[in-house]
Amino acid sequence: MGLGGFFTGKLDEAIGWARKYSIFQYPFVTACCGMEYMATACSHYDVDRFGAGLPRFSPRQSDVLFVVGTISHKMAPVLKRVYDQMCEPKWVVAFGVCTCTGGFYDNYATVMGIDTIIPVDVYIPGCPPRPESVIDGLMKLQEKIAAGAQRY
């Protein structure tokens, strides 16, 4: 992409546009938030409208890691491993307050926010977040993906 600023910019924009509508997500579902994740993914709220309808259950084939639900210290190494297996470019969404900060589970068993283990792009707070706020978070992620393509 070294043919000159103008052309590079346009190409990156095109790539970003394409990427943001083809989100292959890896749902790392552990807890309660999974129920709202199901509700968001199904026909009532229909996340497919945003090009994110198809979950890929192999980390190597997915772009966005949805961390849905509380991460305990027993689970943390698994999460880290899944994240490491994903190919660049990759994004992480912290779904629900337990993944954002640990929520009200301030005890010996739980991780206080997954950003102590892996980097996070979008935080969706709520316990669990309503489908509307999940979709809002997804749209924020799309903006970020579209803008971020110019980094590469």
Binding site: F28, V29, T30, A31, C32, G34, M35, E36, M38, A39, C42, S43, H44, F57, S58, G69, T70, S72, K74, M75, V78, V82, F104, Y105, N107, Y108, A109, T110, C127, P128, R130
Partner: protein
């Protein structure tokens, strides 16, 4: 090639003869595509046959029991929401009823009916999710979409009543947070009509479906004796032909005043479990309809001595402009809430002290409400059951959900134990899948309806 089978070529000498010398170890989970929930199964395989399995749980251990000990009695209620997060209302009410048993009080008639109604709505949504998710794992994606659609209708009802879709925190010790909204019965009837349509469609799609039956009939079966020895309750026990249901065996709330049947199976396999769950949803709807018809008027909460609280006393007088009565009440709020006047407050308020938190309008609108609120919230005050212990069981969506609470006479539970209905079937999972094919793990696991929040607490 002689007598050597293809399998021997891949797996080595002797593996095709059934001698089992070349067992393969396969790890499933804790993050596995075909399984909802975080468990790890280390399977020992002979070809495609499961020889042995080791199930590891605890990936969602969130210290529910320790957290409950850290706060006053009502603070544990949000944690109980997140035990079985598919039917949180049943957990809520189960915990609240156990504390009521410790206190020796009983909820009012209307409250008991409300608890029955909301529990059954919760049970339906749990069974919908269970059948939907396990059908999806067998490839029937349409069923999943239909079931989640029906669950949305029920969650709209729950949201109308509690203000939240999933983690509702609706129960209070001695009652519930608020009364049912106006026109609730009509909404329920409408939602049930839609749900029944969905169930009819699903029944047509699945019950006689050849592929579905091939995957379910005779798979994951457990004999009746073994089911009992593993302390399995709920739909799994009923599918094995034992009609044990806490709602019938030891009726609580208003369950002895409604009519319902206990569907049972015969073989205890996955297919019977599916049929039992399907039939139970219809029974739950029957219970709700009867309870709505019989719903008595009157108060929904009781005070600490078990006396009913009149709903009229909940009306915020200050907002109605009736302030003259308030001035006569000889209580002034200390500027320092933990200060010198604290014992005086206790003396003034002890007769008024209740188990149930006053509604927010009262807390913010009147001095008695505010005092009442503080007396329940302040450290060292609040609900104080006498020393002792109690076990209270309700019929959760997956079986007997028991709470065992030990009180030391203070405002915090000394020990809260939740008897998780999911744990016994998970302990028996290796027995269920022993000798089956690898692919049968998925429908068996789906029929158990493991909920990690409840399993690991």
């Amino acid at each position: 090639m002689g007598g050597r089978t293809r399998r021997e070529i891949y797996l080595g000498e002797g593996s095709g003869t059934g001698s089992g010398s070349q067992h393969l170890y396969v790890n499933m989970g804790p993050s596995h595509p075909a399984m909802h929930g975080v468990i790890r199964i280390v399977a020992e395989l002979d070809g495609e046959t499961m020889v042995n399995a080791d199930v590891e749980i605890g990936y969602l251990h969130r210290a529910f029991e320790k957290e409950c000990e850290a706060g006053p009695y009502n603070n544990a209620i949000p944690y109980t929401d997140r035990l079985n997060y598919v039917s949180p209302l049943i957990n809520n009410f189960g915990y609240a009823s156990c504390v009521e048993k410790l206190l020796g009080i009983e909820a009012t008639e209307r409250c008991q009916y409300i608890r029955v109604i909301m529990s059954e709505i919760s049970r339906i949504s749990d069974h919908l999710t269970c059948i939907g998710a396990s059908a999806m794992e067998l490839g029937a994606f349409t069923v999943f979409l239909y079931m989640i659609k029906a669950r949305e209708y029920l969650w709209e009802l729950v949201e109308d009543v509690t203000g939240a879709r999933l983690t509702i925190s609706y129960a209070r010790v001695g009652g519930v947070k608020a009364d049912l909204p106006d026109g609730f019965a009509l909404k329920v009837l409408k939602a049930f009509k839609e749900t029944r349509q969905v169930l009819e469609e699903v029944d047509k799609l699945l019950t006689g479906n050849r592929i579905f039956m091939d995957r379910m009939v005779g798979v994951g079966a457990l004999s009746r004796a073994e089911t009992i020895a593993y302390a399995i309750t709920g739909p799994l026990l009923r599918a094995a032909g034992v009609s044990y249901d806490v709602r019938r065996a030891q009726p609580y709330w208003a369950y002895d005043r409604v009519e319902f049947e206990i569907p049972t199976g015969r073989n205890g396999d996955n297919y019977d479990r599916y049929l039992v769950r399907l039939a139970e949803m219809e029974q739950s709807m029957r219970i709700v309809e009867q309870a709505l018809d019989a719903l008595p008027g009157g108060p929904i909460n009781v005070d600490w001595e078990g006396r009913a609280i009149d709903p009229a006393s909940y009306v915020d007088r200050g907002k109605q402009g009736k302030t003259e009565g308030l001035l006569l009440i000889p209580i002034t709020l200390s500027p320092n809430l933990a200060g010198l006047e604290r014992p005086v407050h206790r003396a003034v308020n002890v007769a008024d002290k209740r188990v149930v938190l006053p509604p927010k309008e009262d807390t913010y609108g009147s001095i008695e409400g505010l005092m009442n609120h503080f007396m329940l919230i302040m450290d060292g005050y609040g609900i104080r059951p006498p020393k002792g212990e109690a076990y209270f069981a309700v019929e959760g969506a997956n079986g007997e959900l028991g709470f065992y609470i030990v009180s030391d006479g203070t405002d915090r539970p000394y020990r809260v134990r939740c008897r998780p209905p999911c744990l016994p079937p998970m302990a028996a999972l290796p027995r269920m899948i022993e000798g089956e094919m690898v692919a049968d793990v998925v429908p068996t696991f789906g029929s158990i309806n493991m909920i990690a929040g409840e399993l690991d607490r």
